[in-house]
């Protein structure tokens, strides 16, 4: 079959002005950090984008103190209706500067512009818009007549959806009347720092939002800070456990959104082409750097062969490459470290006897890349069926009966999401009841909305982000 070649359609990076170096955002101002600066690179080219300050414990102290002052003097006493207006303002500025944020996100993270422009940034604006409206309606949220804020929130977020995770953390915290100190991921700090500028542009009172950049040590200092009332973390289950141990015995309220190993279950009566699309979206969206990725495909045995043939064909049409090219489907792996982990687990998959298929595609010479890959002949004991790979690697297992599908889907310590593909409505509801996961996508996958609660069962963490339920994490209830 001949295919029309795509002409490159790069998005201009002129819309964003990256400074050579960035300080910390504390008490409404950018200040120099006391630690050694570190570099953030474009994972698609390995070029350095900027130098960023690493916050020391002294810097974290200053940020928490600023947040405390703002909580006590300004943001805490402010009527909800006034807080709402600041949040609406922020939502509007995000919409206005959407293209700039999208390009910056793709540069720093490696995700395709198609996704940062059409998914990440619109969801960020929507999230602020949604929680803005709650700020003066908290008494109607089902947590009592006059629920109170907690105080200062320490928030640590990952690199896979940098600005979206910031929105999931900051919007509900501020709506409920808390102030925040947020640490973005070491490899993706730039959109959080641009968000700090947006706070200045919105004239948000000083100290309500503080951004401290740095690596794991900065995050640990923040969550262990004695004057923090609330800790919110999104990231690996391993770090989540450490944080849960660290806050034990304190009064800090904790919410954790951790890893996943979601099953995407396809029955023989599913609309096959839609299920193939959903499978591709489930695992290759955002290079598979998604905690709720559909990384285990469970195929009913009778359709497995046909389904896999169609899946491989579809994988062959995925365009891997320049994140700023509007045609790109799969961008760069976020870091050399993550690439190494994906490679290592894939090699283990082969060594344990699973059969590997990698989409035929030409990868750029520089940068961090991993071609979409699927493993068949995977058994439940294989490490690629148990461990979160956090990359574009799919493990395929088969089943015969609905009971077997449920048993296999739930055979994991994780419980973040699951997918079901079947045309039979009663079967969807039967499965939805039995799957131990916080989000079940039926005949769709990887859908997100600020009104829709997101979060895990079991070792995928606790607490919900989004929706009315998402308020609980930031209220003293």
């Amino acid at each position: 079959m001949t295919m029309f070649e795509y002409a490159p359609a790069p998005e201009s990076r002129d819309v964003v002005d990256i400074k050579p170096s960035y300080g910390l955002f504390i008490d409404g101002k950018f200040v120099d950090g006391k630690g050694e600066a570190f570099k953030t690179v474009n994972p698609a080219t390995e070029e350095t984008l900027a130098e960023v300050a690493a916050a020391t414990s002294e810097d974290v102290d200053a940020a928490v103190a600023a947040a405390r002052r703002a909580y006590e003097k300004v943001w805490g006493p402010m009527p909800g209706s006034e807080r709402a207006k600041y949040l609406f303002r922020i939502a509007r500025i995000i919409q206005e500067r959407g293209r700039e944020l999208a390009v910056l996100e793709s540069l720093d993270n490696g995700k395709p512009i198609k996704e940062s422009r059409d998914v990440d940034i619109p969801l960020v604006a929507a999230h602020f818009f949604y929680y803005a409206g709650w700020a003066d309606k908290l008494g109607h949220a089902g947590f009592g007549a006059d629920p109170k804020a907690l105080g200062v929130a320490g928030q640590v977020i990952p690199w896979n959806f940098p600005l979206l995770m910031l929105a999931w953390k900051i919007a509900p915290a501020l709506a409920c009347g808390n102030t925040v100190v947020l640490k973005p991921a070491e490899t993706t700090p730039l959109t959080a720092l641009l968000f700090a500028e947006i706070c200045q542009q919105a004239e948000l009172p000083a100290g309500v939002v503080n951004i401290v950049t740095g690596a794991g040590a900065t995050g640990a200092t923040l969550v262990e800070h004695p004057d923090v009332n609330k800790v919110a973390f999104t990231g690996s289950t391993e770090v989540g456990r450490r944080i849960a141990r660290a806050v034990a015995g304190t009064r800090k309220k904790l919410t954790l959104e951790l890893g996943g190993k979601a099953a995407n279950i396809v029955f023989d009566d599913a609309a096959i082409d839609q299920a193939v699309e959903g499978t591709v979206n489930g695992i290759f969206f955002n290079q598979g750097h998604v905690c709720c990725a559909g990384s285990r495909l469970l195929l009913q045995e009778s359709i497995a062969e046909e389904f896999l043939a169609r899946l491989r064909r579809r994988m062959g049409t995925l365009r891997v490459g320049d994140p700023l090219d509007k045609n790109t489907d799969v961008g760069a792996i976020n870091s050399a470290e993550q690439l190494e982990r994906i490679r290592a687990l894939s090699q283990i998959g082969e060594a344990e006897g699973a059969e590997r298929y990698t989409a035929p595609c030409v990868l750029p010479e520089r940068g961090f890349w991993f071609a979409p890959t699927v493993f068949t002949g995977v058994s439940q004991s294989h490490r690629i069926a148990r461990e979160e790979i956090f990359g574009p690697v799919l493990s395929v297992l088969t089943f015969r009966t609905p009971d077997e599908a449920v048993a296999k889907a739930n055979n994991t310590p994780y419980g973040l999401s699951a997918g079901v593909w079947t045309e039979k409505g009663s079967r969807i509801l039967w499965l939805a009841d039995r799957l131990r996961a916080g989000v079940v996508w039926a005949n769709t996958f990887n859908k997100f909305d600020p009104t829709s609660p997101f979060g895990g069962y079991k070792e995928s963490g606790y607490g919900r982000e989004g929706g009315r339920q998402g308020l609980e994490a930031y209220l003293d209830v």
Binding site: R241, A244, G249, G438, D449, G467
Partner: protein, 289 residues
């Protein structure tokens, strides 16, 4: 010997596990004395093995209990109130012996306990309506969030409210479909054992509620670190250092933890416990023709 000269038939206080009344597998017991120092009984002193057996029973019962209809669970909780009402005098006597105070005070606490069952019984088929909701997502999708039980919850029951506090901790966990392993008040375990007898005759499937007596400090760490327990209620842990180590142990499999906090059990409860022992599940489906 009673006033009539008849020799009283004393009760053996045992554990309540999997719907049965075993002694501790360890063969150990400990002396329970009343508020005035009189000897009340030799209660079973449960071991680590008893904790693990109770978790197995709770896990085995969880699926069936969670899939029972809310209407049925509500009726069974209400049945517990009915059964307690019939034993009102016995509970008041046991409570007074354990806690001291007047007969009236003891009766008031028993009545509050019975009423607590009734209150939670009514919640069974309302929790999903109150804690769940549809979500107006920006797209053509049906989207519904509903609460589901967390699973097996370990309860370290309040030390100083051996009946009202106990039921105030158990009822909100089980009404939504969780099953529980309860460590009763160490010094005042007898009302908990009698509660087990009530539950055994209230149509609860065996294993929904499992009650252990013994030394809190000995049993609690095994419950806190057990990999097949999903939630941990630390209300009855009075020692802050023990509470900290139990919470840290619970982090191994990321149990949901309810920390110890001062509570007025006579007041109407908030929904905090119902929320703590449920998970929100959100289901999406496209809408289209």
């Amino acid at each position: 010997m009673s006033e009539t000269g008849r020799i009283a038939v004393r009760k053996t206080y045992k554990l309540y596990v999997g719907g049965k009344f075993p002694r501790s597998e360890s063969g150990r017991s400990y002396l329970v004395t009343g508020a005035d120092g009189t000897v009340l009984a030799n209660a079973s002193r449960s071991s680590r093995k008893d904790v693990r057996d109770a978790v197995v029973a709770a896990r085995a019962a969880q699926k069936g209990w969670a899939t029972a209809t809310a209407y049925l669970r509500g009726q069974i909780l209400y049945r517990a109130a009915e059964m307690m009402e019939g034993r009102r005098a016995q509970f008041a006597e046991e409570l007074r012996a354990a806690e001291g105070g007047s007969r009236k005070q003891a009766e008031a606490r028993v009545d509050a306990t019975i009423d607590r069952w009734v209150w939670y019984a009514g919640w069974a088929d309302k929790v999903p309506q109150v804690l769940g909701n549809g979500n107006p997502v920006a797209g053509p999708y049906f989207n519904l969030s509903s609460p589901e039980p967390t699973g097996v919850v370990g309860v370290i029951a309040p030390q100083h409210a051996p009946l009202l506090g106990l039921v105030s901790a158990i009822a909100p966990a089980i009404v939504t479909g969780n099953t529980v392993v309860v460590i009763a008040s160490e010094k005042m375990p007898l009302p908990a054992v009698t509660l087990g007898e009530v539950l055994a005759t209230s149509d609860f499937p065996g294993g929904v509620v499992n009650i252990l007596t013994g030394h809190t400090g000995e049993m609690a760490p095994h419950l806190a670190s057990h990999a097949d327990v999903n939630g941990l209620d630390l209300t009855g842990v009075d020692d802050p250092e023990l509470a900290r180590t139990l919470e840290a142990a619970a982090a191994d499999n990321l149990k949901r933890v309810l920390r110890p906090a001062a509570e007025d059990f006579l007041a109407e409860p908030t929904l905090k416990r119902l929320r703590t022992w449920t998970e929100t599940k959100t289901v999406w489906h496209p809408a289209g023709v």
